[in-house]
């Protein structure tokens, strides 16, 4: 079909490409829609029928905190320091997690390991994670060569002061247990004792907070599930 007059006619040199140089169906503009379509009314009515159908569908909102969402096991929540089968913490104070942390929220002080801990050179004297600065990226877990730190499925708890967000070594080691409440949704509403971690059991057996150097025993703060 004949090319319609367009900007190409005003050029000094001929246009050599583009839709207006070829005789193709795309060269012409689309046809004006019918009067029925241009009135929009039938489209509006059909649209209204579509939107009213949404009124009869179930709603997606999860009514937190009465209902909790089921979290995947890989959910990156609060951190936890793991212990090995002897009850000793796995962490060797290599500073990998502190180095890789984008938010610089891990603070470690290394010290000499006790002599009877075979094969160990260092253990952390102080291991603190400021959960308020933490961005929960999981890099520390990926960086750790000893699988000593992991992220539980505990949704990070809130406190009234900034200092309470700084989790020290003891709190981090005893941070498991209630994670199952948050991960299992309705099943989590059942109350029960906080499951003691292996580390806690070891510390209890040791009987004395001064057994491991630099450790101060503090109670794991229990969470209060809404009943």
């Amino acid at each position: 079909m004949q090319r319609r007059p367009g900007p190409a006619d005003l050029l000094d040199r001929p246009m050599t490409s583009g839709p207006q140089t070829q005789d193709s169906p795309e060269a012409a503009p689309p046809e004006r829609p019918s009067i029925w379509k241009r009135m929009y009314i039938p489209d509006i009515l059909s649209g209204m029928m579509k939107s009213i159908r949404h009124a009869f569908r179930p709603r997606f909102t999860v009514q937190y905190p009465e209902v909790r969402k089921e979290l995947a096991p890989r959910f990156r929540g609060e951190h936890r320091l793991k212990v090995d089968e002897h009850g000793r913490m796995k962490c060797v104070a290599c500073y990998m997690c502190a180095t890789v942390c984008p938010a610089k929220c891990i603070h470690i002080l290394a010290t000499e390991a006790p002599e009877d801990w075979d094969g160990r050179e260092k253990i952390p004297l102080k291991f603190e994670i400021d959960e308020l600065r933490c961005i929960f990226c999981g890099y520390c877990v990926e960086a750790c060569p000893k699988d000593a730190i992991e992220m539980t499925t505990k949704v990070p708890r809130v406190y009234a002061t900034r200092s309470e967000f700084v989790y020290d070594m003891n709190k981090l080691m005893t941070n498991d247990g209630p994670s199952s409440e948050f991960a299992l949704g309705a099943a989590a509403a059942r109350k029960g004792p906080i499951i003691k971690s292996a580390a806690q059991a070891v510390l209890d057996d040791a009987g004395d907070a001064a057994a491991l150097p630099g450790l101060e025993l503090r109670e794991a703060i229990p969470t209060k599930p809404k009943d």
Binding site: G47, M48, S51, I52, H54, P58, R59, F60, T61, Q63
Partner: protein
């Protein structure tokens, strides 16, 4: 002495109108939030109060205590008047609405006026000033654009609205709202003298209904015609720079305008307090209110029952239109402002004019008894 009684009476009317419209507007806002949520697969506010209905009270309390910032270079006087002008006309419009009946013949209104239709059109246009002032007084280009868009939009659609109503007035011969309702009920003088009435105007004047409906959406700045706010383009449009109760006045004023427009549409096109389907069961010229009134010999019980019933009927119709406003809001996307203006001037006004011509023609032929089937 009488003048004091009159003043007291009108003060009481004012309080009742204000209270009723305020409560309806509050319910409209909450209804908007929850019904919008219903259409969007989510819950709306459902924590505060039963069904979340006190959420707006909480919001208004917060707005009252917020700091009222006035930006540099803003026009303080216009910035003060603007929200008021956006807020108040809705209440004035409601004052003229026939909200009920005692005996099925005449309407109860707070203000009975032969020029009611004209007056409410004029007052309704005042809200345009509120928005324009708000845009101008913000000393910001984008707010100004929002304000200008709004005034242009409202002016254009005022014309279409007026022309749509003109066809109704032509049908009746009287601009009073009570007469319009009486015509739709069938108790108007002209109807009783033989003209065919008793039809709700949405059926008798469908073109006028369509034009008025579209114009009402444009008047109240509701989507798809909410260009003055245009949240995705202008941040807040004319009310960006307002905080605290000035913003609250604009927001609330918009919903009050929705209530006022719904009341107007319910009165003009849906027959006001007329039940309508009682015509299927009762003989010609009778409606349920008359039956109740006669059955109880017009004593106080009949009056009370009729008033309560008729107010309920009007309220239901108003809420029907409010639901329509909300439903359409979440169906249609906002197109372009130029398309809106094209529609206002090139589609609605000619349509309304054609409608007036047809109405006049039909009335002429009916009066000459050339056609009897209308």
């Amino acid at each position: 002495m009488d003048i004091w009684l009159d003043i007291l009476k009108y003060a009481l009317y004012a309080v009742i109108i204000f209270g009723a419209t305020l409560v309806t507007a509050v319910l409209t806002v909450m209804g908007d939030r929850r019904l919008s949520a219903l259409l969007q697969d989510r819950y709306g506010p459902n924590r505060i109060g039963p069904l979340g209905l006190f959420q707006l009270v909480a919001d208004l309390i917060k707005l009252v205590f917020k700091e009222d910032r006035v930006i540099d270079g803003a026009d303080r006087w216009l910035g003060f008047i603007g929200p008021l002008l956006a807020f108040i006309p809705g209440f004035i419009v409601v004052a003229f609405m026939p909200f009920g009946t005692t005996d099925g013949m005449t309407s109860l209104t707070f203000i009975e006026a032969d020029v009611a239709t004209l007056f409410i059109l004029a007052i309704g246009a005042l809200s345009a000033y509120g928005i324009a002032y708000g845009g101008w007084a913000s000393n910001s280009k984008f707010s100004l654009i929002g304000g200008i868009r709004s005034s242009a939009q409202i002016i254009s659609f005022e014309i279409a609205m007026g022309l749509a109503i003109a066809a109704l007035i032509l049908s009746i011969g009287n601009a009073s709202l009570s007469e319009i309702v009486a015509f739709q009920v069938g108790t108007n003088e002209a109807v009783l003298q033989g003209r065919d009435g008793g039809e709700w105007f949405w059926w008798a004047q469908p073109i006028a209904f369509l034009v008025f409906l579209v114009a009402a959406f444009a008047e109240t700045n509701r989507t798809p015609f909410d260009f003055p706010e245009a949240e995705q383009e202008l941040v807040g449009g004319y009310h960006t720079e307002y905080s605290a109760m000035k913003f609250g006045s604009y927001m609330f004023g918009e919903y009050t305008a929705v209530v006022a427009m719904s009341a107007m549409m319910a009165t003009l096109f849906l027959g006001g307090w007329d039940i309508g389907i009682d015509a299927w069961f009762l003989p010609d010229g009778q409606n349920l209110y008359m039956v109740i009134h006669e059955a109880l010999d017009g004593n106080t019980w009949a009056v009370i029952i009729n008033v309560v019933l008729s107010i309920g009927v009007v309220y239901t119709k108003v809420w029907l239109f409010i639901w329509l406003f909300i439903w359409v809001r979440w169906t249609i996307p906002r197109l372009k402002w130029t398309m809106l203006m094209n529609m206002g001037w090139k589609a609605l006004i000619p349509l309304a004019l054609v409608n007036i011509f047809l109405t006049g023609l039909v009335r002429y032929l009916v009066d000459l008894n050339e056609i009897t089937w209308w």
